[in-house]
């Protein structure tokens, strides 16, 4: 599955990329919500494959993760895209806000690779033959 990893930390993008690449997912990186949204718009206009999954940081310059989730949910052509927040924001109220905006899952940093795999399993996104 084509997956977007959206985080302003290069190191964090690399960590997440390694986890999902092990599952055979292809990865597109973006360093903030605006860059990610620009990429998605170009795929929609160009008729190329849109990502099926995005791992989204919250605090990023230009467009933060919550704004990105809201923007994706406002675009009917991206309805099938699964959105997972991966962030240091750990207040209960923040998790509720992200879910209300349309995020499907939420992982709090720091996390272990198993946490990402477990959540993908919950979302039914693990490839056949891969166990959580």
């Amino acid at each position: 599955m084509l997956t977007m990893v959206i985080d302003d930390s290069r190191a964090m993008r690399l960590i997440l990329k390694r986890i999902v690449a092990q599952l055979g997912f292809e990865v597109v990186e973006a360093s903030n919500g605006k860059e990610a949204m620009d990429y998605l718009t170009s795929t929609l206009e160009g008729g190329t494959e849109a990502p099926g999954l995005a791992l989204v940081d919250w605090n990023m310059p230009e467009m933060n993760g919550l704004e990105f989730v809201t923007a994706v949910r406002a675009e009917p052509r991206l309805r099938s895209m699964t959105l997972m927040m991966v962030t240091t924001e750990s207040e209960q109220s923040q998790i509720v806000r992200a879910l209300a905006a349309g995020a499907h899952e939420y992982v709090i940093k720091p996390f272990t690779p198993d946490a990402i795999i477990d959540k993908l399993a919950l979302l039914g996104l693990l490839p056949n033959g891969v166990a959580a």
Binding site: E91, Q92, I95, L99, I108, P110, F111, T112, A115, L122
Partner: protein, 284 residues
């Protein structure tokens, strides 16, 4: 310092005697890794020295803590996912027809470690049970320390990240400093008890559904058989049993039959009535 064969034999004998768990030669690394924190806690520098002391100055409390340390296994919320889906899609509808008269379902989560499985069951049942029904969940474990953690219902950030859907986290947990605590309402629906699966079960059950997952794999065939025999005696005749994905009753206890449900299996007693009583249908 590495354990000597004699020291390892003492530990494996102790764990076998008190918990019926088989520690074969080659598991020295496991013993060292699990006992080192305990040794340090008691002010002893090496595992070898700690084992020697335990051997020559036998104290029941130290022995209990050794067994505790070696029988604590990994767990997580919604571990392996599928059994919980099958509980909702196959087992509960069956139980709802069979228990329509008293509208209560009793579940046992055996070897529940720090409590993630019984709390997962409580979250699942709270959503899946129709109004007017109640459920009771009993979580048991051999380790007093794990039961203490389970009762407190407090989990670290790393633990709640594992397998717990975010929607359930915000509904059933409260932030408590750096940790998260199970809500009082959910904690009230689970009772915890200390139980050694390898010894007779004192006044436990009867249950409609038993989860005993990823624990039989540590026992030899004879112990597996006697544990399953005791589990069978706590299970209502039409109840359901869930084992771990690498475990089975086949070839161990023929009273059970495997029922394939979705991508997993559950077990029932062969003597179970095959259909729910007709008089109960339509009352749920």
């Amino acid at each position: 310092m590495t354990l000597t064969a004699q020291e390892f034999a003492f530990i494996s004998g102790l764990v076998r005697r008190d918990a019926a768990i088989v520690l074969e030669t080659g598991k020295e690394y496991l013993v060292e890794a699990r006992l080192l924190p305990l040794a340090r806690q008691l002010g002893v520098a090496t595992v070898s020295e700690f084992v020697n002391r335990a051997q020559h100055r036998p104290e029941p409390e130290t022995h209990r803590r050794i067994v505790d340390a070696l029988t604590t296994n990994e767990t997580s919320f919604f571990r392996d996912g599928e059994p919980f889906s099958q509980l909702v899609s196959t087992v509960l509808p069956d139980m709802l027809t069979r228990r329509a008269a008293n509208r209560n379902i009793k579940i046992w989560s055996a070897a529940c470690s720090s409590g993630q499985e019984p709390y997962t069951l409580a979250m699942v049942l709270q959503d899946a049970m129709p109004p007017g029904w109640s459920f009771d969940i009993v979580g048991t474990d051999i380790s007093q320390e794990m039961l203490g953690r389970a009762e407190a219902g407090q989990y670290s950030q790393l633990e709640i990240n594992r397998g717990l859907p975010a929607t359930l986290l915000v509904r059933h947990f409260e932030r408590n400093g750096a940790n998260w605590r199970v809500s009082p309402a959910l904690r009230k629906s689970v009772t915890f008890k200390r139980l050694n699966l390898a010894a007779p079960f004192p006044s436990l059950g009867p249950f409609d559904i038993v989860f005993i997952r990823n624990v039989l794999i540590y026992f030899d065939v004879q112990t597996k058989r006697s544990v399953l025999q005791r589990v069978a005696s706590t299970l209502r005749p039409d109840g359901w049993l869930f084992l771990g994905s690498a475990e089975t009753t086949i070839g161990i206890d023929d009273r059970f039959e495997r029922v394939v449900t979705g991508r997993t299996s559950a077990y029932r007693l062969r003597s179970a009535p095959k259909t729910a009583p007709v008089s109960a249908l339509g009352k749920g």
